[in-house]
Amino acid sequence: MVVLREGMCPGLDAGLLRNLRAADVKTVEDLVSSDTEELARKCSVSYKALLAIRRVLLAQHTAFPVSGADLYEELLSSTAILSTGNPSLDKLLDSGLYTGEITELSGGPGSGKSQVCFGVAVHISYRLKQSVVYIDTTGGLTAGRLLEMLQTETSNTEEQMAALQRIQIFRLFDVYSLLDCLYGLRSGGLQQASVGGGSVKAVIVDSVSAVISPLLGGKHNEGMSLMIQVAGVLKTMAKDFNVAALVTNHVTRSGSGEVQPGLGASWSHIPRTRILLERVEPAAAVSPSGLRSATLIKSSRQVREAASTRTSCSSLIALATVREANFLISCVSCSV
């Protein structure tokens, strides 16, 4: 809804604006949808002038169509694939996190979602030397844990400090501050967060369901609308700035008793790739094992085995050797 204002385009002066408002045309959409000849007659302005105004406003406010070939060229030159630091998880994700998309990790309590996110952040900041924005909504992030993970990679304290500096942390606990933070990042914050030479390549929100699920349910639809707004700003940020968005989600039980990711059916269309993490308990377990299983439940690329994209991608950030993070995760099944 864009309200018509004076000076928005040449020819839209105060007098014309008054006449338009008298004819009940207050927004750009009203102007564009109404019949131009009738409006020109009512507001006593020339048809040609009104047509020119309409054309300028339309060009200013519509999304411009892009040819498929140009879009593909742009995508080839700007998409990067970020390895997560764990080879089996990478294999599940078709070689890593893709920039420009939202990837979702869901799992119950203690299933390792936050640990995976820490591992990804540490890997990107230490190995790939790029910045990471980490939005923590649960309070589960401690710098000590990140340092512990870094200490297994290197014993050089300067490198550890440099890697820690590339991880920028935001602590928020409700959806409005999350939206504020994301809008702020989108309008210039991401450039400022690029520290130490590397640009921001990943935005991790842990977890998005902690701030949204209290608002869902009941008669009011505001929760759903806020959820879609968060999704929208994450997606536009991922696309415009070529970052990979990683979010975590809780799980619920479906009607037939099986475990499924939370936040409902409307959220399920939003992430491009979804992974479900579960604990694996061996049959004769004495103590809880450190094993977790990751199942791919939605992917637009993995149809059989790792289907590769076109090999002429020139900007893949692929790693030759990958070190495992400080926990075990084994890929058990890949069902799409």
Partner: protein
């Protein structure tokens, strides 16, 4: 009418100038005062050229046989019809849209229709890499005889140049974009298909933004639907739109078939494709034992058309491979009105 028997374009232009008098008649008094070149310019803008008239009335490819597996016999989407694909997440709607897209932009040698397509992307769900891999594999199977790398690239590029992609971030922007697309529709007579993925992306935003009255909540989508109706009537393109289900189907796929969008949109839809997914039975997969031979999930599509008087539906199933959608079986049933 074959495009080769195009009438003389100057004849059409004169015809257009005579018949398109609707704007010329209502010239306001202020423009009557301007004489000479300005009046000619105004008249040229008010009337449409012969090419635009031609594009408007004729020349759009008919997409009735775009996918015979999906639609009942002879019941494919005609000019000016809207097909809605509904289903929950992961039921193959986007894959079906890619399949239809590829069928339209591929050259005739590869089994395509060679028409232009506009893809309106409302929730950033277009995965160009996946689309290109489908196009690639289809071109490879079709043109495998004389394939050099450069000719393959050229073929791929020509296919992609028939595709126009628009991203919209709100329903007001969708409305404005549809107005803007009118100029593209009038200037490209080879544009025959409009894909919208998805039409329900702004549902919750509109519901919350409209306050307490349902009319205000549905206002924007109603305006889009009315505009689409006019565009379909004037330009005779075909529209395929995907609509995400918002409730998890606890009682089978039929419960998720209730449309929750506004009435003007529901009136516009002439065919509905209900998508669902059947996961392979676990015991069978375990019996096979070999992890490399996992059973593929099978997707089913059920098509109901409200346009034909005999209510007939057609059910088909497909699975998704590297080369896109592959149909495995179809079944159709005719329920005549007497049985009701």
């Amino acid at each position: 009418m074959s495009l080769r028997t195009v009438p003389n374009i100057t004849v059409l232009r004169h015809f257009a100038a005579f018949t398109m008098k609707r704007r010329g008649q209502e010239v306001s008094s202020s423009s009557r005062r301007r004489r000479g070149r300005k009046e000619d310019e105004a008249r040229a803008e008010m009337s449409e050229s012969g090419a635009q008239l031609f594009a408007r009335l004729e020349g759009r490819c008919c997409l009735k046989d775009i996918e015979p597996h999906l639609f009942p016999e002879d019941g494919g989407p005609d000019h000016g019809e809207v097909v809605e694909l509904c289903g929950t997440e992961g039921t193959g709607k986007t894959e079906l849209l890619y399949h239809l897209l590829c069928r339209c932009v591929l050259p005739e040698a590869a089994g395509g229709l060679e028409v232009d397509v506009v893809f309106v992307d409302t929730d950033y769900s277009l995965d160009m890499l996946r689309l290109v891999s489908i196009l690639d594999s289809r071109l490879n199977t079709a043109l495998s005889s004389n394939s050099s790398a450069r000719s393959e690239e050229a073929a791929l590029r020509s296919c992609l140049s028939r595709l126009l992609v628009v991203h919209c971030s709100s329903s007001s922007q969708l409305l404005l974009t549809l107005h803007f697309l009118e100029t593209s529709l009038s200037s490209r007579p080879s544009l025959a298909l409009l894909l919208i993925d998805s039409i329900s992306a702004f549902y919750w935003l509109d519901r919350c933004g409209g306050g307490a009255s349902f009319a205000k909540q549905e206002e924007k989508l109603s305006k889009c639907a009315e505009l689409l109706e006019r565009l379909l009537r004037d330009y005779r393109v075909t529209v395929f739109a995907s609509c995400h289900a918002i409730r998890r189907s606890s009682s089978g796929p039929s419960s998720s078939s209730d449309s929750y969008l506004c009435r003007p949109w529901q009136r516009l839809v002439s065919h509905r494709l209900l998508c669902s997914r059947q996961d392979p039975v676990d015991s069978v997969a375990a019996a096979v034992g070999d992890r490399g031979q996992r059973m593929q999930p099978v997707f089913t599509v059920r098509c109901t058309s409200s346009s034909c008087s005999m209510k007939s539906f057609r059910s088909s199933s497909f699975c998704v491979t590297d080369g896109g959608v592959e149909f495995i079986g179809t079944s159709s049933s005719q329920d005549s009105e007497q049985s009701r």
